[in-house]
Symmetry: C2
Subunit: 138 residues, 2 copies
DNA sequence: TGAACACTTGCACAGTTGTTCAACTATTAG
DNA sequence: CTAATAGTTGAACAACTGTGCAAGTGTTCA
């Protein structure tokens, strides 16, 4: 059975409205590509490492105990989203975070990730409220 | 050929050092899970929609022109990372952003995504500097 | 010039993820 | 009670992604 889009419930029934900048399709696409690049633990670790300062590929590989090739591939992904900077210094190629924005993003997520988890709901039925997320923050 | 971890280049050669909070393995895991959840365009769009105010599943499905089941599945992923709140109101279940942190994260990434791209470099070799992102992307 | 070092890249394979269908639970109306 | 509405969930499948290997490029140094 294919239930699609014929809402018997009208939008006016609920839905408050705050103001948000209009989000273009491309901005959204790019944002999600960035998120996706950040969404791999090894890659995120690599970025955290680079946040401490520039490093060459070999150096990173040593720190992470991974193969050079693997690190290089990871950096390729990050580079394709402009998340890292890159410059040659003699034999080495130094990588670093692209800018402060990237550092902020990572820092922000790590902060959120370190917050207390909302307890897994005991699957209880209550007076008209499921109350899953007791608004834990700010 | 398996070149692993025996750096002929010493760490002291380069690498500046800024201070960063020590990142635990679990925080990093969770952060990347959050990023991954945000890293799907439809899911991100859904969150942007919810950022404008709470909405029930049917409503969202109508707005996105998708099947209810699909929306529900997307919400499930977001819920599993505690990115959305959920409460029942009569027949409907209202979803919204979990907290300000989430809004910040999304807003931040969208801002970064809307920034001017590093200019497509003329593929020139210059004094020891390879510009940030020489390659195109998708 | 040639050898050594420092990466990068194409490819194949395995593991992961998003979507859909169908069946299920939960709430309300008759 | 039953029917209808609202939403969830499990399974299957196609599409995507990360890794490691082998072979490549580019730079330095003798």
């Amino acid at each position: 059975m294919r239930r699609t889009v014929d809402p018997t419930c009208k939008p006016e029934e609920h839905a408050g409205a705050r103001r948000w900048p209009d989000v273009t399709g491309t901005a959204l696409q790019r944002a999600s590509r960035i998120f996706r690049a950040l969404g791999d633990p090894p890659r995120l670790r690599l970025l955290v490492l680079l946040a401490k300062g520039e490093a060459c590929v070999t150096e990173v590989a040593a720190a992470e105990r991974e193969e050079i090739s693997t690190i290089s591939q990871r950096l390729r992904v990050l580079r394709s989203e402009s998340l890292v900077s890159r410059r040659r210094q003699g034999k080495h190629i130094l990588y670093g975070l692209a800018d402060q924005h990237v550092a902020d993003l990572i820092f922000n997520a790590l902060a959120h990730a370190s917050e207390p988890r909302p307890a897994p709901p005991p699957a209880h039925k209550e007076e008209g409220a499921i109350h899953v997320t007791p608004d834990s923050h700010r």
